[in-house]
Subunit: 343 residues, 2 copies
DNA sequence: GTGAAAGCGCTAACAT
DNA sequence: ATGTTAGCGCTTTCAC
């Protein structure tokens, strides 16, 4: 493996000079020397050892993104936005998938923090047990940014958030305005703040329209297809009336779809389904699910921008950013009275 | 940031001793000393600086996985399998998404190789221009493993491959045996070896059954939903007869679906669609697409296993592994003669 | 059972 | 316009 020393020897200069040229700190170095160095560097195909560099600069130019589930297209989008922004800015991205396992999440944070990455973008579960970890990072001035996860106790951690409460409120209102009164709801994992906000938005919309919140119509899901399927089946078998179903994310809405079809009901004639996230699966579902669009890619770009500001010692222009969500109506319909009591 | 030196001072021992204890090389160190060191380590919440360690060991315990498109559930599965295996073995995974951009791919390889990662799992495009890069890595004894990408010139690079040719052959045969004679085909990006193999499998199956290979029925796609949509539209507008469509991956099959429905044809009554990959999207498509199952997760586990063997100086038990594929029949049907000439 | 010292490859004062 | 030197935090010989 060729080192800076070898380049220096071949060029008959000191390693300092080589280092300077390579790091663009060579204002005061003769063109001739520069040229010579670059030539030898090319010849030997030399690339500086990133580890050695990190050792002295205390910077790795790597950041990490911790996501719960990379198979979820929503997080895949986040990952893409984050990665693109990193690469554009001379950084690299450690993409870490926790599978929603708290131990994995904490292990990642612990290990990565030890100088492997200069900062992190975090989408962990953030239950109370995490507070201690985050507080420590805060104390150490270690840069990190939340995406779509909020911690009450750490209100001043920078973050990028979707307007989940309003979004859930509005999509519920949308159903209500179409005439639906009995709207079932499948939550995300309630350990995550966005799942709680979506639930609250749903409940508030019902209350504001003088509709009862029926706990039997609310099921706990997990943001996965299989969870949506399972909970929908349970709802259908409960023998309770509902004309619409709001799944807290599109993946669960897909699962709900399957369950409803297996049950022999027509969508949306007998049951309307709406989701959340606006996952990009063009034409796959027929009819498509009305949903809330979350600008995932854009949010990731913003999160990285904030993080890099933090890492490079700048004060971010905005350190907490909320993104309003847009309803994407893909053809929800009013309930059909005559078939509503299907159970 | 607490260092090994601080631990040593507090314990009244040398840093060597601390290092030994922490690295389990302390056979000859008294229990008392060990205990003391561990206590102080816990107290100060000390974790060794990974960068400094790498500097001397020449190992980072990181590997990288370069994929063309993390939004493709197939690669998300690969990523999951790779990551899980890494974590289990004390490694971490750099997940790199190239968006099929050759410059990005090459930049990743170049940068990562410089000691950021101990080895790589590669799913790049591997056109000729890559040979030079790979040859260099081979020369340097730098460990890397292919997944689903093959390079003719580098036949001895370890790799994990799906039986693409046989798979494509068999799914084509499946359609032929159902009675289909005019089978359209959408390729993947032909710069990738697996796309070429799938094309060849399709062609061979036709020939073996004395069916003509009609170039007008073959369109170049890109493994993306939008590509499947676009090429299918073109096929439909060409005014050529075909009763079945084989898309080289499920994502394109989904796109084809949309195009066909928009065109007003019934699936599978008027047109059968089959895909490849067996992407996990339960219940989303109605009717579902017959496809070939590729054991992506399992393949990733194997690839990491081989790579870690290489990194840790063992000889892998098998260094080139081919996985046979299984047809997943989700309800293909025979062509309906009377509606076949739909165009 | 433990320690001293060298050195990994690089950057950054501080010279000159 | 360039070189000398120290040092980043750790592991690893070699010594006692």
């Amino acid at each position: 493996m060729v080192t800076i020393k070898e380049i220096a020897e071949r060029c008959g200069v000191s390693i300092t000079t080589v280092s300077r040229v390579l790091n663009n700190k060579g204002d005061s170095i003769s063109e001739k020397t520069k040229e010579r160095i670059f030539r030898v560097v090319d010849e030997l195909n030399y690339v500086p050892n990133a580890v050695a560099r990190s050792m002295v600069t205390k910077r790795t130019n790597n950041i990490a993104l911790i996501v719960p589930d990379i198979s979820n297209p929503f997080f895949a989008d986040i990952a893409k936005g984050a990665e693109r922004t990193c690469v554009n800015r001379g950084f690299h991205l450690f993409l870490c998938n926790s599978d929603m396992d708290k131990e994995v999440e904490k292990e990642y944070i612990r290990v990565l923090r030890k100088r492997l990455v200069d900062g992190m973008i975090i989408t962990t579960q953030n239950t109370e047990e995490y507070d201690v970890i985050f507080e420590e990072m805060l104390e150490d001035n270690y840069p990190f940014v939340f995406i779509e996860r909020y911690s009450d106790k750490l209100a001043d951690v920078p973050g990028v958030f979707a307007g989940n409460m309003d979004g859930a409120y509005n999509i519920t209102k949308h159903l209500i305005e179409l005439g639906h009164k009995d709207i079932a709801f499948i939550t995300g994992p309630l350990v995550t703040s966005n799942a709680r906000y979506r639930l609250e938005g749903y409940q508030r919309a019902l209350k504001d329209h003088d509709l009862p919140v029926n706990p039997k119509l609310i099921r706990n899901g997990n943001y996965k297809v299989a969870g949506g399927y399972r909970e929908t089946k349970t709802l259908l078998e409960q023998n309770i009336q509902f004309s619409a179903l709001f799944a807290s994310n599109d993946l669960m809405a897909f699962g709900a779809y399957q369950a409803v079809k297996e049950y022999g009901l027509e969508i949306p004639e007998q049951l309307s389904i709406v989701g959340f996230d606006n996952i990009d699966m063009p034409g796959v579902i027929e009819p498509q699910v009305t949903t809330m669009d979350i600008p995932a890619y854009e949010m990731a770009v913003k999160a990285v921008t904030i993080l890099l500001d933090l890492i490079e010692g700048r004060t971010p222009k905005e350190s907490k950013v909320y993104y309003p969500l847009k309803l994407v109506n893909k053809g929800s319909t009013a309930p059909k009275k005559e078939v509503q009591d299907f159970a």
